[in-house]
Subunit: 416 residues, 2 copies
């Protein structure tokens, strides 16, 4: 039973902050789903002595070691060679890997350079998995009972190897006895949630965590037990109790995202939707269409940034704009009706607000946002006020997700 | 002269992978701009013994220690208390911080709970900076010659403290003798760049790094020298040589982003732009409007996901759609002309393609994308083929950035 892992991310670009390490989180998450806990993530530069010292320490304290980065074709990438040295292994060419790299580069019309061959060298005795998403293979070293995985640094390639190879390899090593449930909430603060479920948290101090994001608040419930059934029972009972107390704020579970929940809601009810955006400038449309198959319920969205565009495309009246302004309940409502009519869909959603940093006034400060929604028979608007000091991107993100929550509540009201 | 730092990020949510640590990169980047190098980033959970062991090690090897996370009001957040214990200091209430927190919560209409008071406790003798963006203060400990900063875990708050307080504090401690220049390229692979400038890289092995991203390739040139002028000279000479060899691919420097470069190009030339998107579903519009002040050159963008929307809003002809399909050079061109006419702007940009995972065919595979552009007098289209195996989000990201590059080249051609 392998149950503790550590992750080492290598690259000067990580240490300087030029690139954010998303791989460690991806690996840790995937491991946890298999019942393997990670205790420490470390990032260092492409530096031989630092890599050797870190790997030596890791071999003393962890059963599974995941090293990501530094497998590229250029000279600054030294991970595989240094790991071979640290483990006293030769560094050898694998013809199969080299043939695969040449074929892959040829197939995508890229040139083959002599230095591409570097990626076909691995520590002697290592296993490897070929890469169909990039050129560097994933290298697996069995060092006594320890297992060391060398992964590329490109996130999509790490994701590829985890899904296609490593998950299956580890599943054979272990049987999971950890169960996790995430409850996703919107419209309530972390402090308020903590107050409402404090007794549950106190009873279960390590098993409940809060993960606040711009778009949602996640309560994560973790249970460990001797058997899988036991762990499952603990998670289920705790989840039920939490959901019972916070049911008005719960919008999903586990990997549910509001975009995907909306897909289900819209397709189940055979509804189509169109969005007219001002302050979010296309962000809501982008989020909705991140979902594969969203073309089934989306045909037309518009970004009407100027008053003229609001009048021409959405038929917002000049009188409304002059009397109440572009950022107003009335404009939001007329935009929602306008996009519904323009797109001939079932639900029209609109947003108008001030994302900043300029354009605010004492009466209409930066952070003021109105969301409008209509199904033709019934329309409503909601007002939001985000803290003025937040950066523009954060205000836009929060506003876009709030609009999606308004859409979800509206469909639930419509269909219940 | 303080010149070496390390960063410790604390939080169970980091170790489990539920949250990606963006703070370490942000801190490292800000430090480097001040001439301070970071050698190691470590993340651990909210665990007393791990925090104490890590801080003890850090105090031996680093002059500046930045600890982020674990300053929240809830019981799982233990950083400040554990640091006090590790340094043998009492943990004391600061009335000024508590008053500030109460005022801040009151001002934004939030409730004040007894446990909010926890955030007003700091290690005895510590300095602190009040938080106007959230509730946890930034705590500064002077431990002999070492400096320890405790920062909240919320990225916007970290950014706030770095900009408003820490930069100024560190600037007084040090004078920077490191100079950095970034050259931003598009339309060329890392391997090709490496070939073209290999001799420069070999001459300067630690000073040149490649940072490939979905949207661009960055060459980062770093120079250290005894004096600032000397460092500047090295960076300038290397930059000139690199740019001379790769000038056709260079689109910007340092923190230039294509969105901001487009703002300058459009406003300097007094041009307006409108975008019609299919496969990117609003992402291009979102990127363009991420820039404050973009309302000066953007009034209307549309997402026409269905054929009907392309015909109704953009006047793409039924004949074109039937004969060539929605993903074709012809449709891209008609969409560009259509959005130009609809919005009455100077330049119409369009994109149509297959983002996957479904919808591909042998003739038109997933990853096929056409970008169209017109200024009314002159139109052109460009075809791109992204690897079919890439995830939908990656194809959409790359496609959106390629379209922005097409827009930039087009404006440069138009105006030169």
């Amino acid at each position: 039973m392998y149950k503790n892992a550590e992750i080492i991310a290598i690259g000067n670009e990580l240490i300087t902050g030029d690139v954010i390490d998303t791989n460690s989180a991806l690996i840790a998450k995937s491991l946890l789903a298999l019942g393997i806990e990670t205790s420490i993530h470390t990032s260092v530069g492409d530096d031989e002595s630092q890599i050797i010292s870190l790997l030596s320490t890791a071999l003393k304290r962890s059963e599974l070691i995941f090293i990501t980065g530094g497998l590229g074709p250029t000279d600054d990438d030294i991970t595989a060679k240094v790991v071979a040295k640290c483990l006293n292994r030769d560094f050898v060419l694998k013809e199969e890997i080299w043939e695969h790299i040449k074929k892959l580069l040829g197939n995508t019309g890229r040139e083959i350079y002599p230095f591409n061959k570097k990626q076909a060298y691995i520590p002697k005795g290592a296993k490897y998995f070929l890469n169909y998403s990039g050129t560097a293979p994933c290298i697996l070293l069995e060092e006594g009972k320890k297992r060391i995985f060398l992964l590329p640094g490109v996130p999509s390639e790490v994701s590829y190897f985890i899904d296609k190879e490593i998950k299956h390899y580890l599943a054979e090593l272990n049987n999971s006895k950890i169960k996790i449930k995430k409850i996703k909430l919107s419209g309530i603060s972390e402090a308020k949630v903590n107050e409402v479920i404090k007794d549950i948290v106190d009873k279960n101090p390590t098993g409940i965590a809060f993960l606040p994001k711009s778009s949602e608040l996640v309560i994560k419930i973790t249970a460990k037990a001797k058997t899988e059934n036991e762990a499952l029972q603990i998670v289920d009972e705790t989840t039920q109790e939490v959901v019972y107390r916070l049911k008005n704020y719960v919008f999903g579970y586990d990997d549910d995202s509001i975009e995907y929940l909306l897909k289900d809601l819209l397709t189940e009810n055979n509804l189509t939707i169109a969005v007219a955006e001002s302050c979010t400038g296309g962000y809501i449309s982008k989020l909705l269409t991140d979902v594969p198959g969203s073309s089934k319920y989306i045909s037309t969205n518009v970004v009407t940034y100027s008053n003229k565009a609001k009048m021409n495309l959405l038929k917002v009246s000049q009188n409304t704009l002059e009397k109440h302004g572009a950022v107003s309940e009335q404009t939001a409502e007329e935009m929602a009706i306008g996009i519904k009519n323009l797109s001939k869909c079932d639900i029209g959603l609109s947003i108008t607000g001030i994302a900043g940093p300029d354009g605010g006034s004492p009466l209409k400060p930066v952070g003021l946002v109105y969301v409008g929604i209509t199904n033709g028979k019934y329309s409503k608007t909601e007002k939001f006020l985000f803290p003025e000091k937040l950066p523009r991107t954060e205000i836009r993100t929060r506003a876009a997700y709030k609009a999606l929550q308004v859409l979800r509540s509206f469909i639930l009201e419509m269909t219940n």
